[in-house]
């Protein structure tokens, strides 16, 4: 069984119009750049995207929005994107906003075979509307369910051909939980190595969660807020 595919075009085979996909990343940090390009190129549409953010106008999921491929975004924060706002106001795009921790935990639950859990986040707010609430130990909680998705697409720093992954710094973010959660998980990595080259004690995503892996190319790694100090 070979999990290695040649490139993003091969990796996204089977993603079809109308599917639900998870995309790792926080802002533009740790996003699966190659796979997004291939989805745009393939024109796969009516997608529901679970991703903490929606990119910027000309990068990240913003590229999918430009091509009108996204029917619904499930995110915690969707600023910095004019085309997003236009599609939302015109009714072309649907948005479901969730607390960031709830978004992360619903991914993790999916990857852990936990169908539902309770969280305090959003109790008493409109996020709780239509959801069950319940008291434990005199505190109020909302019941949240595991996400269901067809594909999860994550970006890692290094991976081996068995599918073990490590991430770099804060580019880790949602990627490990989404890797666990996909019915089929696609991983793109900056560097693909042979099994045994990654220390088994320091792997972030065990191979069992990854179905397809490839070494990406031409990572742009755009920076949203380039803040510097004078030395």
């Amino acid at each position: 069984m070979n999990k290695v595919v040649k490139n993003a075009d091969d990796a996204i085979q089977g993603i079809r119009d109308g599917m639900t996909i998870m995309l790792g990343g926080f802002g533009l940090c740790g996003i699966p750049e190659n796979s997004i390009s291939s989805i745009v190129k393939a024109g796969i549409k009516d997608l529901t995207c679970i991703s903490n953010n929606a990119g910027v106008d000309d990068f990240g999921i913003g590229l999918m929005l430009q091509s009108k491929l996204v029917r619904k975004m499930i995110s915690s924060y969707v600023g910095e994107n004019a085309e997003f706002e236009r599609q939302l106001l015109s009714g072309e795009l649907e948005v479901e906003l969730l607390p960031q921790g709830t978004l992360a935990e619903r991914c993790r639950a999916a990857g852990a075979g936990i169908p539902a859990f309770y969280t305090p986040a959003g109790f008493g707010t409109e996020i709780a509307e239509g959801k069950e609430t319940r008291e434990f130990g005199e505190k109020q909680f909302i019941m949240e369910k595991a996400f269901e998705s067809d594909f999860a697409i994550v970006k890692a720093w290094k991976g081996d051909t068995d599918g073990n992954l490590i991430y770099k710094a804060t580019a880790r973010n949602f990627n490990p939980m989404m890797a666990m959660a996909g019915k089929i998980t696609i991983a793109e990595v900056e560097e693909l190595v042979e099994p045994g080259e990654l220390d088994p004690n320091f792997i972030h995503t065990p191979s069992i969660f990854v179905n397809r892996i490839f070494q990406g190319t031409d990572y742009e790694k755009r920076i949203e807020q380039r803040t510097i100090r004078q030395n």
Binding site: L88, G101, E105, A121, T170
Partner: protein, 217 residues
């Protein structure tokens, strides 16, 4: 009246040695500049970093190393990276000792609104709802009134709520207020500000008992 920097400086006096602290965007971010001498705090950034350092120099910039405001940052000795689920595990389980947030409105029960203005484009709550639902110790840093001069300290929120009964302390340009079961309790006044000034700028139930000292820096 306090400047934004002074609001941050006053909040920094609440820091205790060993605290793990989550600072929101805006005035809260400035708190990091005023950590008192002899006090060691560790900044948590909910995108997956504990031990956030200052902005990088030009040569240190790393696109894979940002904070929750998507700004490039650095690490310190003892820093640690983790995934988003672990980050909010810390937050929900109450391991973050202090959370400083901005707000659009706070009411005298400690409810906070800071994520949505009906009719305007909604960007989302990010991690704010998790933070306010979980933290034991939340301080709001904000201007006392909004741009049209209306009070942001209310008896009843007019905007969609972010979390219920969570705000413990408010530091504004005018004063320091504790939110207690009795309502807004005025604790300290900014230089040049009178109790009446605060009363006039506060729509919610304000208690000003005894001598109210001036904020000391």
């Amino acid at each position: 009246m306090l400047t934004k920097e002074q609001i941050a400086q006053r909040i920094a006096q609440e820091l205790q040695d060993g605290y793990y602290v989550n600072l929101g965007i805006g005035i809260p971010t400035l708190v990091a500049n005023y950590v008192p001498a002899g006090i060691n705090v560790t900044l948590q950034s909910e995108n997956g970093l504990l031990g956030m350092g200052p902005f990088p120099t030009e040569s240190e910039i790393d696109a894979d190393l940002i904070n929750a405001g998507k700004q490039t940052v650095t690490t310190l000795s003892g820093s640690v990276f983790f995934d988003s689920a672990t980050s909010f595990a810390m937050i929900r389980s109450g391991r973050v000792d202090l959370t400083v947030l901005g707000a659009m409105e706070v009411n005298d029960k400690g409810d906070i609104a800071n994520w949505k203005i009906p009719g305007k484009m909604v960007k989302g709550m990010g991690g704010a709802m998790d933070l306010v639902a979980s933290a034991q110790n939340i301080i709001v840093a904000m201007q006392h009134t909004n741009r049209s001069g209306a009070s942001k300290l209310l008896s009843k929120l007019t905007l969609p709520v972010t979390g219920l009964g969570c705000v413990k302390k408010i530091v504004t340009n005018l004063c320091v207020i504790d939110v207690t079961p009795r309502g807004f309790e005025l604790k300290e006044l900014a230089p040049g500000i009178s109790i009446d000034d605060v009363h006039n700028a506060t729509e919610g139930n304000l208690l000003a008992e005894g001598e109210i000292p001036e904020i000391q820096f």
